[in-house]
Amino acid sequence: MISTWNPPAPDGDMAGEELLVAFDRGRDLRLLICPAWFDEANKLRRFTLEVMRRLDRAGVDCLLPDLPGCNESLAPLERQTLEGWRAAMTAAAEALRATHVLAIRAGALVAPPALPGWHYAAQSGPKLLRGMIRARTIAAREAGLAETSEALMAEGRAQGLTLGGWTIGPAMFAALEMAEPALAPGQSDLAQSAIGGPGLWLRAEPGEDAAQADRLAGRIVQSLAGAPA
């Protein structure tokens, strides 16, 4: 279930090795999962795996690579860029022979455009940053420090910023300020309202919801079988 793949090294060095969670039984349908980012990645990790288990049972191979710099990746997070993550997900799609993509929340920002698939509750870069910056200003205020969103944004652009414990480099930060998820041909939105229930990324603590996992996996299976999504 835990496997590895080799992303291309950005500077032409020897390629590093990244881990992935895979339900890989060599079937025709192979779904690449672009996971949620940062804090949302933790909150949605279990849900993501629950959806993958259901799809596996329904006959779909599921491949969940780490974003470089996250989880067990050896790459330093502060050196990651939006373009780099896009390239990594596209490389993962090729290396793992994915036929479809399921992008979750900000994962939609890096979904390989060549693959048909779904953006689940897609999140934009500005909203992602806004939430994380706000968490930092609230924490700072509690600690008696005066930090403003504006000053933090300027700092993020100039030298990068640590938000919620995640070190975001200046290039990633600047790119996120403009990044909007875009549906490529063959891709469609799956809004939370279509799944029903509260989005699990909203939870203060990581949670799970079997009924939501059933519905998300069900929509994908239905859509793969040719029914409208």
């Binding site: 939430g131 706000r134 200003t137 609230i138 203060a204």
Partner: protein
Amino acid sequence: MTVSHNLDGAALDLELKGLIADVLGLDPEQAQALGPDSGLFGHLPELDSMAVAGLLTEMEDRLGIVIEDDDVDGEMLETYGALRAFAEAKLGGC
């Protein structure tokens, strides 16, 4: 996201309690039991700064308001009643 500009008191209550239930993973009945003096930030260990930030960002989306840095203080987040009063004031100012 639902953006509702013309919320009366009961509808605002429903939205806000629903939102807090979503964030805290409460059942709707538990959320309905929230009263003006029910403690939020600083009273509930799971409601840390990240969760509060999520709550405020979602409030912006669902209520169609914009919350500035200066709006956010300990008092406004301390109790359910204070948060509701804040939302009411923001909606009234639209």
